[in-house]
């Protein structure tokens, strides 16, 4: 019953298009899956202009049937009480029987975080397609440009990725774990904390990761002797040692990233705090504290992650370069050695992998952004 997935129009990633179409007004019977994609929206009343509910409405596109669970059509809709009219079992009955208005007791919504999974999946699907298309175009372009005839050494590539992929993951974790609290604290507290974070991130976004890597080696490896200055213990030999040898490079790459993230997040929080809908929430009877807790983080995170998309795509090349500082046998070594050896086949596979990894980082950023702020921007 989800065969109409491919019938969905191409304008889905245009944020405006679904909004112009009132929910339930699509009269085409074949485009109506018997599903109820938005579940937690129940908490938000129809007539309450609070928070993301007006924005979630267009997301409840009837054609987004990617994760329609079989239980959704068996459970009767009436059991969930009055709610926003979404796509029902029968398309014809929607305009005929409008839902009753929400009772007054629901005007004060709960603090539960709302998710609407199917639209997010749909958004992620489009971004995934975009990513794959980019990799495909890059692969074709490279095969034309490099004209390699020999097959690439895929085992070698996999071996190299065993270094680069964990390094990337570690960077992202460091950036998130350090950057997020810094950004939120700076934005919410202001004052000296904000000043310190801003000063740090002004330096952090300007520092060359290679140089930071060398400084870290100088301090942690040479002077203090805590970590090793370079080289790599293979995973098969000692997983802990492998992780340990990735720690310094990950710090050199992750710290600037964390500071950049903190800056973006701080700006996002600042903007969210003066947004007029916070006032609206106050007039709806929320305390300021509740309203800030409920709305500001997601708004700020969405904004910050949107700004982080370009830095995220720059992380991979930086990673490839910093690997060399630590003599890590990763993608960077593959790229440089095949370049200096004139090995077109391996150069091609290394470059395609580079493009794919950049796309992966962007994709992760986009999905996280969609999770944080479900208004799902089209471009970016």
């Amino acid at each position: 019953m989800s065969k109409d997935g491919e019938a969905s129009p191409l304008v889905i990633d245009d944020p405006v298009a679904p909004a112009e179409m009132p929910i339930g007004a699509s009269t085409s019977a074949e485009a109506e899956p018997p599903s109820d994609p938005v579940v937690e929206i129940v908490a938000l009343p129809v007539d309450a202009p609070v928070g993301p509910s007006p924005d979630l409405l267009p997301a409840a596109d009837p054609s987004s049937d990617i994760s329609a669970t079989p239980s959704a059509d068996s459970s009767p809709k009436e059991a969930e009480g009055p709610q926003i009219p979404t796509a029902g079992e029968n398309a014809a009955e929607i305009p005929a029987t409008p839902q009753p208005p929400a009772p007054a007791s629901r005007v004060y919504p709960s603090l539960a975080i709302t998710f609407s999974m199917p639209p997010l999946l749909e958004y992620a699907g489009w971004r995934l397609l975009e990513w794959l298309a980019t990799v495909a175009v890059a692969a074709v372009l490279l095969s034309v440009l490099l004209r390699s005839s020999a097959p690439a050494d895929l085992a070698l590539l996999a071996d190299r990725l065993g270094v680069t992929l964990p390094l990337l993951a570690l960077c992202l974790v460091i950036a998130g774990v350090i950057g997020a609290p810094m950004g939120f604290l700076a934005g919410l507290l202001g004052g000296p904390v904000d000043a310190i974070v801003r000063a740090l991130s002004a330096v952090g976004t300007a520092v060359l990761p290679i140089w930071l890597a060398m400084l870290l080696v100088l301090v942690f490896a040479a002077t203090l002797g805590w970590l090793q200055p370079g080289g790599f213990v293979p995973w098969a030999q000692n997983a802990g040692g492998a992780l340990f040898s990735l720690l310094l490079p990950a710090l050199a790459l992750g710290l600037p990233m964390a500071l950049e993230f903190a800056r973006a997040l701080r700006n996002g929080v600042r903007h969210a705090l003066v947004d007029p809908w916070l006032e609206t929430a106050r007039t709806m009877g929320w305390t300021r504290r509740e309203a800030v807790i409920r709305f500001v983080p997601r708004q700020a995170l969405g904004d910050a992650l949107g700004e982080m998309l370009v830095p995220l795509s720059l992380l991979v090349p930086a990673c490839v370069i910093v690997e060399n500082v630590f003599y890590l046998p990763g993608l960077g070594r593959l790229l440089l050695s095949s370049l200096s050896a004139g090995d077109a086949a391996n150069l091609q596979s290394a470059l395609v992998t580079l493009v794919a990894l950049v796309g992966l980082c962007r994709f992760i950023g986009q999905v996280l952004r969609g999770l944080a702020d479900p208004r799902l921007p089209g471009g970016a």
Binding site: V207, L351, L354
Partner: protein, 279 residues
């Protein structure tokens, strides 16, 4: 005799002071780079076997590297290289990226999609991938770095300009001038360009900062300037092998890069902030 009150000297706001300091720092660094064309304390292409790896002294203010080259002279030349490469790259990005963004804004949705897709492809390749391709075809050179960073800049500038243009699209004064009969390029020239120019200046400065970092990264890998020439990335590469015994040749180019990029970024952010306040 005039009735107007005497002008009151108001203290400058902190962002303004910061912006001015950054502009001054940028100009000083630029001056250092240009001075290196006509004069450096020591020639950078001659190795002094008797003065290898020296600590700072009166004759060598920042010491010498493992080959006996004066670190200060090398850094001066390197600063020039950084500025020249990233300026050429920024020019490439601006001269191609801005028209692309404007054209996309004029020609509507399909052109915009194409622009986003193309920019996404360049962003995915990144300057490193483009430089590697160019090196595979033409061999390593500083020209490659300029081209690679420049091509990469096109994508970044086009995206940024498109975003800036979008902010104008809903403005009332544009609708008003459209009603009064203006359209197309004339409308853009009269009403969009004047407010867009400071934003473009900010974009250009940000690209300059970014280009300096990218050039250093490519130089470190050996994909940019080659040894007789000097670049800050190359200095880092040479200094790395001896940095545990002699950290200064590593610290100097990195600190120079940091100064350049911080100054340029502060200028870029300040310009953008100014526009926001004016609006």
């Amino acid at each position: 005799m005039s009735l107007s009150p005497p002008p009151v000297a108001r203290p400058l706001a902190l962002p303004m002071i910061r912006l001015r300091l950054a502009v001054i720092a940028t100009l000083v660094l630029l001056l250092i780079g240009f001075v290196s064309i006509v004069w450096t304390p020591y020639p950078v292409d001659q190795l002094d076997a008797l003065a290898q790896a020296q600590a700072p002294s009166a004759s060598h203010l920042l010491g010498t590297d493992a080959l006996g080259r004066d670190t200060l002279s090398m850094a001066m030349k390197g600063i020039l290289t950084s500025f020249v490469v990233s300026a050429v790259a920024a020019a490439i990005g601006l001269f191609i990226g801005i028209p692309l963004a404007v054209a996309a804004a004029r020609w509507g949705l399909v052109a915009e999609r194409l622009l986003i897709g193309g920019a996404g492809l360049f962003l995915s390749f990144s300057a490193l991938g483009i430089a590697a391709l160019l090196t595979a075809h033409f061999g390593p050179s500083a020209l490659n770095a300029m081209l690679a960073v420049g091509l990469f800049n096109i994508a970044v500038v086009a995206r940024q300009t498109r975003e800036d243009l979008r902010a104008f699209q809903g403005r009332d004064y544009l609708a008003a001038s459209r009603l009064s009969g203006l359209a197309g390029w004339e409308l853009a020239r009269r009403h969009v360009l004047p407010s867009l120019l400071p934003l473009l200046g900010a974009t250009a400065t940000a690209q300059l900062a970014h280009g300096v970092l990218l050039e250093a990264g490519l130089g470190y890998l050996g994909l940019a300037s080659q040894p007789p020439g000097s670049s800050l990335g190359l200095m880092l590469r040479d200094a790395q092998s001896v940095m545990l015994f002699e950290p200064l040749p590593m610290l100097v180019p990195g600190a120079a890069l940091l100064l350049i990029v911080v100054a340029l970024q502060v200028v870029a952010r300040g310009l953008r902030q100014e526009v926001k306040h004016a609006a």
